[in-house]
């Protein structure tokens, strides 16, 4: 029984990782047509280094992810604090409002943003992408920080005030240190959401300038080269290491 179970688990893991592994392997294969035998070569990485378009897109992706996660984390943390420590009418409504941005397919949200930004004159481009990415990350930040806030009740802040701490002292000496892992995790989540986001960026990108996923999509549809494998491998490795770091701060529903 146990053997059967572990075999099944192994098969599922293989299913999840096999294509990624093959893609990475092919990034190091000399043949542009994925032909075997495998010959190790860095030719595609070298080609990538000279591909101005992909590099620019990569840089755009990184800075948009950095800026949007910084914005989303700060205003999302404020919102989480407002929601967690106060009872007020409309609170339930505000909490429910976090679900549509997460659950409505990105195709619909993306096209709605395209129409709205076009109609209001905001237009397309990296600034529009940035606006959109913050919106997508916000619900995640509020939920992640809110979950962290929920792990301790208000009594720790109450204990602090009972000991003579002013509200600001209670906040900076108790709330913030306890919240820090949640904020860090939320920030990295937000980064990942933005860095991996394709659909919204696809609709909001102006011709010529875009983020890496959009550029990769365009390349795939044009008939791709193994340079795409190389850049994709890099993207996957960045994302995975990011999640591994996050998991040190934040347990994904897993328990000891």
């Amino acid at each position: 029984m146990r053997f059967l179970g572990l075999t099944y688990l192994g098969a599922i893991l293989a299913f999840l990782y096999l294509p990624i592994a093959i893609m990475m392997l092919m990034a190091f294969n000399q043949s542009p047509l994925y032909e075997l035998p495998f010959t190790f070569d860095l030719v595609w990485f070298k080609a990538l280094a000279g591909n101005e378009r992909l590099l620019t897109a990569g840089w755009n992706s990184v800075w948009i992810a950095l800026v949007s996660s910084a914005i989303a984390t700060s205003i999302g943390t404020l919102a989480a604090l407002g929601l967690a420590r106060n009872e007020f009418t409309g609170k339930r409504f505000l909490q429910l409002m976090l679900f549509p941005p997460i659950t409505i397919p990105w195709l619909i949200i993306g096209t709605a943003m395209l129409i709205f930004f076009f109609w209001t004159g905001v237009g397309r481009g990296l600034h529009a992408i940035l606006l959109g990415h913050v919106a997508l990350s916000l619900p995640y930040v509020i939920v992640v920080v809110g979950a962290r806030l929920a792990t301790h009740g208000p009594e720790l802040e109450e204990a602090a005030t009972s000991l003579g701490a002013r509200p600001a002292q209670a906040f900076f000496r108790v709330t913030v240190p306890l919240l820090a892992p949640g904020i860090v995790a939320a920030g990295m989540f937000a980064f990942a959401v933005s860095f991996d986001q394709f659909i919204i960026s696809y609709f909001l990108a102006a011709p010529g300038t875009s983020t890496l996923p959009v550029e990769i999509f365009t390349a795939i549809r044009k008939g791709f080269t193994p340079e795409i494998n190389a850049i994709s491998s890099i993207v996957i490795i960045i994302s995975m290491s990011l999640v591994l770091v996050v998991s040190r701060f934040y347990r994904f529903g897993g328990e000891r």
Binding site: A79, P105, A192
Partner: protein, 269 residues
Amino acid sequence: MPGAEKHLRVTFLVAPAYLWLALTVFLPLAVMLFFSFLTAVPVGAREATLTLQHYVSFFTKKIYWYNALRSLELATYVTLACVVLGYPVAVILTRMITGRAREAIFLMIILPFWTNALVRTFSWTMVLRGPFDIIFTYPAIVIGLVHAYLPYAVLTIYVSLQAIDERLIEAARALGASKRQAFMRVMLPLSLPGVLAGVFLIFIPVTGSFMEPRILGGKDAIMLGPIIESQFTATFNWPLGAALSFMMLAIILLMLALGYPLLQRHMER
């Protein structure tokens, strides 16, 4: 604390985030709804009048309603496959593996879920092209989507399984239930809310998918998602695209409304 002061503080805390969401998500959705009733995009001197024609087209032209059904069909297959494949994974994780190994494997399963969906879909083009050669077919789309959404199923089912008190299973066994009976009568019913949450989390985005069909599906990619996309990127019939988007949203809301009572029970627990 006096009510007014508290009110002001709460407003100050939540306003930036919600204002942002309102201006970039909710308001655009409202504007898109408005656009879906227009004959044309109102730009420059172009005349635009109100019309229901796009919604009428959805029901009268086969290309739209038929491909909406195809999207739902695809979502059904993918969701079913994810639950069937994912449930045993969650059971094995909670029942057979403990401690750090469980944590590590759990992380490995949800790791791809946080990596670039586009890149993962792209990686299948190499595998499906090679030994199997089913690239640009319907099964290729299903495989790519199952790969993308399987972690959702494992995650939600795992969380609900983990919440089940081990002693309930023991109690069932002590009352004379076989392992199979204990599973069927205790564990499965208690994990259903998790399964349902997974179903929603998979069914909705798959219904709206267009990138996976475009990359993996070839000529089999014609479904509602790709059709909407092309209204915005190829044919530039935005009002029609908006109407189709709202039809998709309506279908999704209908699905949610049907399942909401069950999901609500799960949330309250």
